[in-house]
Symmetry: C2
């Protein structure tokens, strides 16, 4: 690990990785052992490795898989679930929730995106909306107070670069390792936010975790991938740049740079699903399916 | 000009470029026709074009050339002055101040940088310090209240990216088209800050301005050039990105994002040269030459 000036053997690498995750969890006060953590699991290296580490550290960590119904010519969603099932076979104590979007709501993600004509032919914005809603719903219904995702440093700096290139000050104010819970929304945490992607991949490899290598078929040509490429050039030119970019951002944030912009928008319960929303009337998720309030004033 | 969705013939391009400069000068309240403007002229396309435009617009704009004594195997500094002299030959009304660093202070920039062992073998930080000091000195001694530099959009976004990658909040707070005058420091303005480098190059070409094509020999391999390369990839992927990066930054800045960080450090006159400095005792420039106060208390 060039940026840490550290070279480790296999056993020590695994030990270092787990201890480093624990340090991140404590440093940002993400959760404790009496918290109930729901890990959003996609079948990729990041989320499966995160779930594995949390279980090894003795946290109460259950998984959530959301079947998006994406095929992409190679059964992307089906293959993802298979990888998670293989992971579970070795860990009988682990508990997984599965949400099947096509069965529950009658359409796959690409279908609803096509119907709503959102996102210029890409279902990514609809997909994000649905995943956020379903994660919050399962956390709420099953009493999890923490939602953990496998976002790594490469993911975080790509988002950071995008937010900075457009000076999206509201987004910058909310980009953090921890988003505190509020009004029925579980706390959101990213325990891998300080790991390079290749560090997580090395952990998965050494732990023998089999994961889905393929990106989501809709990710191809995304600006996120383009930003990741730019940042990799930067990292190659000056090792440690990504970590410095992220940590100096967190420092500026902690020093109050965005504190005025962090003032929270008011939330109220959606009249259909009861999840907090900032818009009047049904939330964006319920509008997606044209869900109406059960009783109407009209 | 792909980002403006504009295609112009030669005459209209020159007209557009001059009018656009005037709009920028007014928009950011840089200066008026009764201000005395000193243009820092290097012999490159940006500064010579800026001087040309300001003269055409009828501003009181005189030039300042600082001979840094840089050779680089091809007489960089000598060649630069020759280009400026050729520019002057066509403009008998233009007035140029020349500061000769080796003659005045006894050393070229590379010599003083070597003696002070600053900047890891590169004289760039010493060069910047000396240029800032000499520009302020000439402005002060000759009664110019505005200092104009030819920084273009590509220069500004490269600095912006560098400041953002390290979250240099103090620098971000001071990065602006106009830095107001204070305590004996002239106002600093960048009338070309919204022009792409290639737009300035096109102006110089169409106006027949001959300029020095070579970069400073010490610029090779600089991080600024690396950042410019990253940003050019971004621009190629998404035309207009550089301008959007800069303008959205200026908007966030105007909305008060950095207002707390913009609180000014206290300045007092250097006991040797009288220029404002934030350090106790002689300023960094005077320490460079070991200049001492004329009278001492000891």
């Amino acid at each position: 690990m060039r940026h840490h000036k550290l070279a480790l053997c296999e056993d020590h690498y695994l030990e270092w990785f787990v201890a480093q995750t624990e340090r991140t969890i404590r440093k940002y006060r993400m959760f404790r052992r009496d918290d109930r953590v729901l890990v959003a699991v996609s079948g990729g290296k990041d989320s499966l490795s995160l779930w594995d580490v949390l279980l090894r550290l003795g946290y109460q960590a259950d998984g959530l898989y959301i079947n998006l119904g994406i095929d992409g010519g190679f059964g992307y969603s089906r293959l993802s679930l298979e990888k998670i099932e293989a992971f579970l076979a070795d860990r009988p104590e682990a508990k997984l929730h599965v949400v099947d979007v096509p069965t529950l709501y009658g359409e796959t993600i690409p279908q609803v995106a096509r119907r709503k004509l959102r996102g210029r032919g890409k279902p990514c914005s609809v997909c994000g909306l649905i995943k956020r809603h379903e994660m919050n719903r399962i956390a709420w219904e099953h009493g999890y107070n923490v939602l953990a995702t496998g976002h790594n440093l490469d993911d975080e700096v790509a988002v950071l670069l995008s937010n900075v290139l457009h000076w999206q000050v509201g987004y910058l104010a909310r980009q953090a390792p921890v988003l505190e819970e509020r009004e029925g929304l579980a706390r959101k945490v990213k325990p891998f936010c300080r790991f390079y992607e290749r560090e997580v991949a090395a952990y998965a490899l050494l732990r023998g975790i089999d994961y889905i290598y393929e990106e989501c078929p809709y990710a191809e040509g995304s600006t996120t991938i383009f930003y990741k490429d730019l940042l990799s050039r930067l990292e190659a030119q000056s090792p440690g740049s990504k970590l410095q970019f992220y940590l100096s951002f967190l420092r500026a944030r902690k020093d109050g740079l965005f504190k005025e912009q962090a003032e929270q928008v008011e939330l109220h319960p959606c009249p259909v699903c009861s999840q907090p929303t900032s818009v009047p009337g049904p939330c964006a998720f319920c509008r997606l399916w044209n869900h109406q309030p059960a009783t109407s004033n009209r």
